[in-house]
Point group: C2
Chain length 190, copies 2
């Protein structure tokens, strides 16, 4: 028997990514985002939602670019800090001991220490209410070699990204491999 | 040293949700979606991207409604099947032995066996290319009591949802709790 728990954003899992941008002074900044995901295969595109009050909001609009830096779980404290502090008041990269690396493809910095980076050009914005959705075309993905599998593509267990749990404000790690897609479900096919 | 691996949708984690809708004949249908996530806190809203060729595409447009059914990992085979088969040819619920339950709030069915359901009204669509993004306002969330914590909110470890890994087409489970948000990062605050 299901129970109604109201209109809310209880959806699982959500990611914990750092969205990188340069502000009006050219300072590298980043913010943690969980309201984010993939939204299109061709062109490859991702979406991230921000409140207008965020320092990153104006930065992304002005440079029409952002990066997605996907952390390994060992960077949990820094990821959390990037969601607590404001780039208006502090240099978050410096405070957390992380390295802002200038993308050569888009006008935004990424986190040098993180294993997987998506460099994005702003395609469009969608006004939703408290959040504005930024849709970015993925111009390139950059990966540390040690997170790539034999086929040259990233493997999630090697990245070991963080998951964010809305409602309990908690970070989780990735668990076991449970099955292959387009294979496991064939048993129901007649 | 990072390596360029091209323009792609390598982002981690992505979810594995079943999106429920009624087709033109009133038949309950569902499709598996990984290009999906939360996009706004107020109004609470989620996004899911579909190709126009999907049977669900026209269904959601016509009824202006969909549900998000979040599975427990034990339903992996059914989740995968809902991503392989087409509702044009088969009754997926019947084939996989799942129960379509009519939402009382929106004109769409959800998966009765899954622990967490988001009932959504279509707010808008965004044309992106191969995929069209559907944005839905979350009218209500329904949960099995056993996935709720003491505060009445869902706990991710109790839901035990699936994660999807793009590039390796593999499902993972949720791992350990690693830390609390808005707490772990305070050590970098001066």
């Amino acid at each position: 028997m299901k129970k109604s728990i109201g209109s809310n954003t209880f959806a699982y899992p959500t990611p914990a990514w750092i969205i990188g941008s340069y502000d009006q002074n050219g300072k590298a900044n980043g913010m943690t985002a969980a309201w984010a995901g993939v939204c299109c295969s061709d062109p490859p595109a991702v979406t991230v939602s921000l409140r207008k009050s965020r320092h990153s909001y104006q930065s992304i609009l002005e440079r029409e670019a952002f990066t997605v830096s996907i952390p390994s779980a060992s960077y949990l404290e820094a990821v959390d800090f990037f969601g607590i502090a404001s780039g208006k008041e502090v240099d978050k990269f410096e405070a957390a001991g992380l390295t802002p690396v200038r993308s050569e493809l888009v006008d935004a910095p990424y986190v040098g220490e993180f294993p997987l980076i998506l460099e994005c050009k702003l395609l469009q914005t969608v006004e939703l209410g408290q959040h504005i959705q930024f849709i970015g075309r993925v111009v390139d993905v950059k990966a540390e070699e040690d997170v790539l599998g034999e086929n040259g593509k990233p493997e999630m267990r090697k990245i070991s990204p963080l998951l964010y749990s809305p409602g309990e404000s908690t970070y989780y790690g990735v668990g076991e491999i449970l099955g292959k897609a387009y294979t496991s479900g064939l048993k129901f096919k007649k």
